[in-house]
Symmetry: C2
Subunit: 198 residues, 2 copies
């Protein structure tokens, strides 16, 4: 499972990872398996680890006072999952993170990653780029949530992350889009009956 | 106006800026004054600069097909403004950025900032921390927009950034919260008539 992480770091940083660095990476990350529905994080706990997903799929969500789930992220292989705010600030998390499919993860604490950043240049580059891309992605999602219609948000998700539609049930896709499953079903029907534009 | 930026960098990075580094910073940033309503960026243009605000206030917003404005950010002194996605990816921006009050800015291109990061350690630390904090802030805002009620979003903004209520008109605060000015006015009246809880 470490090969995926090595490839990810080399791709992201455009920098080769030496044998010695690879050994250090293997010693720093802790493998963990989760069965479907098991938690990586529960609301109120501090998120001690960021997790690189080598297999499976995960979701991050909050539960409001009426018991409704609001999914903020859906994640698959080669993505990271964790509550970044809680991880960096060591504050109790507002989120739950659980496995949607049986999953395999590589966990790392912030302390260890800060140390790795100094020892492995490819890791420092990867993290700088990830922070940049994460900020861009969350700005995009924010823009979509405050200014696009449900149909436009659906189309944007389909364009940006088509793989999510194969991996997650409709109810979770609907929650991620902030709509009811009925609205999602209606949007899909409408789009299917529309003539395709260029 | 450069003193504010120097103080900001030293505070953020917990690292002193030497005289030599300060000279380099002064040579790298371009001062710009904007009168109220003048644009820093217009939709469709590439955002070539990130701007550090030394005086005044700015807003970043998109305009939808029906001509409605959606404010994604409200910014005041000692904050940065710019469309980060466009700035990093060199893609046309979806946003407009204009001055809400007469403003003074310090502009810098991504090319120059990448160079400065290597020459001035305090700048590298500041940017790493800014990327981290920006991601956390945009995650919080996303969470608020998809799972909190209008009243809860109002209270969260008041708690996190009380200064914005003194600096921006109610119409802009309402747009930032994704509600109509009438709803904002109703929320304020309701909160005033509620007994305060602990």
């Amino acid at each position: 499972m470490f090969e995926n992480l090595k490839k990810y770091i080399e791709d992201y940083s455009s920098t080769a990872v030496s044998e010695e660095e690879y050994t250090l990476i293997q010693q720093s990350f802790k493998p963990k398996k989760l069965r479907k529905r098991q938690y990586l994080l529960q609301e109120g706990d501090v998120c001690k680890y960021m997790a690189f997903i080598t297999q499976g799929s995960m979701r991050q969500y909050s539960v409001d006072e009426s018991g409704n789930e609001h999914i903020v992220r859906l994640c698959i292989e080669n993505w990271w999952v964790g509550d970044y705010e809680s991880y960096v600030m060591l504050t109790p998390s507002k989120y739950n993170i659980d496995a949607v499919e049986d999953s395999e993860l590589l966990l790392v604490t912030n302390e260890i990653i800060q140390d790795l950043k100094m020892k492995v240049p490819a890791i420092a580059k990867t993290i700088a780029k990830m922070d940049e891309r994460n900020f861009i992605a969350s700005q995009r999602r924010l823009h979509a949530s405050i200014s696009l219609s449900a149909e436009e948000r659906y189309l944007e998700l389909q364009k940006s992350y088509p793989e999510l539609f194969q991996r997650f049930p409709q109810t979770m896709i609907a929650s991620y889009l902030g709509i009811t499953p009925e609205t999602l079903s209606r949007i899909r029907k409408q789009l299917l009956s529309k003539p395709k534009s260029a």
